[in-house]
Symmetry: C2
Subunit: 565 residues, 2 copies
């Protein structure tokens, strides 16, 4: 391989965006730059001057200008840091959280950027973890079940409140004037590619996983949408598009405007947008069935490839060509993982652990991990349900909540921390069991994302609980690397890239030497604990009139007099 074939991948996350500059020959990451969104996650009040507008507890928005600031800050930074000439960059690709969606005008201007709508919460991008559209998701599911919609089975029988049409329908329900003003409803991923190329495209990954589209059947019918709400009948034709581009293809070329913004050359190939989780699979070396990829960060996302279409309980979805062309890509997820650990460290760890972290010049998570690692499996006497952020698979219910049982006066902070780590591992095992029950083997696992390198105890617990070997992707930033790999594919071999993602993965993706093997004596204890986890899981998760639902209803009633966005 000759010198001078580089690709840029930009990963748009929950709190920040990051760019990586990658050598197309071997995937070497030459430079990385991160931009922490200036408005972060907007979940309490709108940004100034509308900070008197309060949001309900389940809301989560972002600022689209943070996406542009990410491009403006990070791409020039990686070029500069690596000392690479823009002429040697053969492509740029992006990945995004999903479903993160926004309403725009016909020319792509986000509605929240219009003066008269800036104070309207529904004019802003709804982040993936915006969970306020559960009533709409319930309606979407009920109407689909009643009409026996064929697409429902692909999503495990239920779609999530996080998805595209639940969010769209919430806008219509609660702010019909915003819905009317929206010429376009679009995934943020596609919106950013639009800003890069000047051309509106729609990618098959978000369409397939989050908008009930499939290669064979397209979107649900207009009749279905009309049954949901007559005003929704033409939503696809009027506000979206039926032309869906495959990931691994080229969306267009970098516009002059975007070239000025990024420091790249106009005309650089731009890949069709992708999703952070899905793009991670090839970046974690996985392009074949049998190996599950778990992207572990604030939440967990599970990707498994299959030769055939199978129906798995409560899966997020299965999309043909959704991850790797020619295979069915299955997705499952856990809505809270690192988020829960962070919540615990911030709100439930007593001062002594923070003091210890300060004294040692380290992070409180490191102290908690060290202390939790001293405990034997089962020793805490605790068990948790990891639903602080709802349950994405297999129950698909954002109204579920966390549970912790077994506390005594002798319970200490590291006990609870360990129980939370274990709970997320049990949650992963439920998903593996669901895959295997549907005939999709999970023989081993590759982990990637932010957590595996930071928390070795967590990895060992996952191996022990699932009874499977866990490998770890070499890259600490698989989404950005994956986006760069897709950029190399968008460029194609003619420009020094690759003609398929399988080939790009073979050259550019690597595993770390760290692997975690299940330990027999731990497995035995965790088998017993998992039985109890499943008992609680079914008790609290499968009872439609359960305690968690009632608590949420009582909480909503108690808040009726509160100012609501």
């Amino acid at each position: 391989m000759s010198v001078g074939r580089y690709a840029v991948g930009v990963d748009f996350g929950t709190q920040s965006g990051r760019a990586v500059l990658v050598d197309c020959a071997d995937g070497r990451e030459l430079a990385t730059a991160v931009y922490p969104y200036s408005n972060g996650v907007i979940d309490e009040r709108l940004p100034e001057p509308y900070d008197h507008v309060l949001l309900e507890p389940d809301w989560a928005l972002q600022d689209p200008d943070d996406y542009l600031r990410t491009l403006r800050q990070t791409v020039p930074a990686v070029l500069a840091e690596a000392g690479v000439d823009a002429a040697d960059v053969i492509g740029i690709g992006i990945d995004f959280t999903s479903c993160t969606m926004l309403p725009t005008t016909a020319d792509g201007t986000p509605l929240c950027r219009l003066d008269e709508l800036r104070g309207e919460p529904h004019a802003w991008p709804k982040l993936w973890k915006h969970h306020a559209a559960q009533p709409e998701a319930d309606r979407i599911n009920a109407v689909a079940a009643e009409r026996r919609e064929p697409w429902l089975a692909r999503y495990g029988g239920k779609i999530s409140s996080e998805w595209f049409f639940a969010k769209a329908l919430q806008i219509l329900d609660e702010a019909p004037e915003i819905f009317d003003r929206a010429d376009r409803l679009i995934e943020a991923a596609d919106w950013v590619v639009w800003q890069l190329t000047g051309i509106e495209t729609r990618n098959n990954c978000t369409a397939g996983y989050k908008a009930m589209w499939s290669k064979r059947d397209g979107f649900p019918t207009n009749e279905y949408f009309a049954a949901l709400d007559p005003r929704l009948e033409q939503v696809v034709d009027e506000k979206m598009s039926r032309s869906i581009a495959s990931s691994g293809t080229r969306a267009g070329l970098l516009s002059e405007l975007a070239a000025a913004m990024t420091g790249l050359r106009a005309g650089t190939p731009v890949a069709v947008a992708n999703v952070d989780a899905h793009v991670s699979a090839p970046a974690a070396t996985v392009t074949q069935p049998g190996t599950m990829v778990v992207i572990m960060g604030t939440s967990n996302c599970h990707i498994l490839l299959g030769d055939e279409l199978a129906f798995v309980e409560g899966m997020c979805g299965v999309v043909e060509d959704g991850v790797v062309p020619g295979l069915f890509g299955y997705e499952a997820g856990q809505s809270g993982v690192g988020d829960i650990f962070a919540w615990f460290a911030e709100h439930s760890a007593s001062p002594e652990y923070h003091d210890a972290a300060r004294r040692r010049g380290t992070d409180v998570h490191r102290i908690l991990e060290e202390e939790a690692a001293k405990l034997r499996p089962g020793e805490t006497g605790l068990l948790a349900l990891d639903w602080w952020n709802g349950n994405r698979s297999v129950l698909v219910d954002a109204d579920l909540s966390g549970l912790l049982v077994g506390m005594t006066l002798a319970t200490r902070v590291p006990d609870v921390y360990r129980a939370l780590l274990e709970a997320t591992a049990f949650g992963t095992r439920v998903i593996i069991d669901a895959f295997e029950s549907a005939g999709l083997a999970v023989t081993n696992i590759v982990a990637c994302g932010g957590l595996p390198a930071r928390n070795k105890l967590l990895m060992q617990i996952y191996a022990d609980v699932t009874g499977r070997e866990f490998s770890v992707a070499a890259s600490a930033q698989t989404p950005a690397l994956g986006a760069a790999m897709f950029a190399a594919v968008a460029a194609g071999s003619a420009l020094g890239g690759y003609d398929s993602i399988v080939e790009a993965s073979r050259q550019m993706a690597h595993l770390s030497p760290d692997t975690y093997q299940p330990i027999d004596s731990h497995q035995a204890v965790y088998r017993d604990l998992y039985r109890e986890y499943v008992r609680l899981h079914d008790l609290f998760g499968r009872d439609g009139e359960g305690v968690m639902k009632t608590l949420r209803q009582i909480r909503h009633r108690s808040g009726e007099e509160v100012p609501i966005a």
Copy 2:
């Protein structure tokens, strides 16, 4: 009333002992002195030089020399502080936690004071909250049920692991040589009176509530004890006594030795020992049926008087003359209340609350209470089962544990704190419901103990959850006041005291002007939440094979390789 009739009450608590000097005329508390036990609660390791001897998690011991140090430090201190002449003290009485029991030689020397036994955990006094005798309690209950023992119904069908014979049987099971060495097995309350008078007496309150004794039937039969374990057949005759003295009578006169220790005059009347909770009822003005007394501190104890014998599910016990002569005294309890709040504040409140407390020069509980008070009922979305220390009534099961449900990433420290306050109120309501189901009316409530004055939010929540008016005893130290009232009764009117506890209560006990009325809108929300509490209570508490039990078994198995006392 003439000047110069004083009584001393000494209250032996969990962490400290306290003496109060009281004016017999009106109950005025002239001086108080507290001695924090130098060895506190012994629950991790024995005191030096045996601190290499580790205790299992459920153990809790005390040092009998801390009881003597209490007498030596506090009684002279109150005399000095009040400037009262020992000649004007007409009596001394004590109350104690119960069942706190110890093995001694024939002359009353605690076995743990013998050099050769000081390193043996079973030689030490077992504190009320020693919870390691659950297997023994299970056996006691099973054998009693099988034999249809008539006394079982008086204790709601189940005795607790905290009680006298469960603890005695644990000594026999685990350290038969200590059991053999014990000439006497005795309540710490009676042991202290023995040290004061030189005469071994046994009080009817601990015998009735904690040792299955009744005025009409005495102790369980020797045949029953033999069925439990042949070596236990003669336990009452050989190591205890069948002569049981009534509270409100005189145990004896202060010995020369005890006079030297306390600074009181030899010959001062000494009351028969009493129990902290029971002695609090008359000290809280309650000597008639209908008003429940709740002693709120580390744990809650509930006392209710009745004209007749009724059988109430899971009651701690009913003892004729046990609280007030001529009435049946019913006792129920919650094993963890203030203990749980303290656990939470110490281990689960993040630094910002501790920092705020420091800045304001106050206690972290004050900050948590203030913040929790800003929340509306139901607003937290949380619900807890208050079983961190097991459940004493109505489930009578020390193996139960805490539960918290409803957490989301938006859950904050004051939310959880409030949920824990509420959980203990729901626990009290379960007990009230059990009393009322058995035909014992609870029309209103008088609270006493350490918590009511410290936490007004807690009192309001209790009123709202129970739907009953809560008054508060004027004295902040009702046990010590009650002990002093019994001292005045031991002296009798001839010496300037009283001839009955009812009369003493009328003169010496008072209510605070603070009362708490249930608020309608709160009651409505709490009715809904209580329904969910009862659902969880029955789900986790009434299933013998429940998750909490299994977690405890798994924890015990995980600890098998650990050094165990």
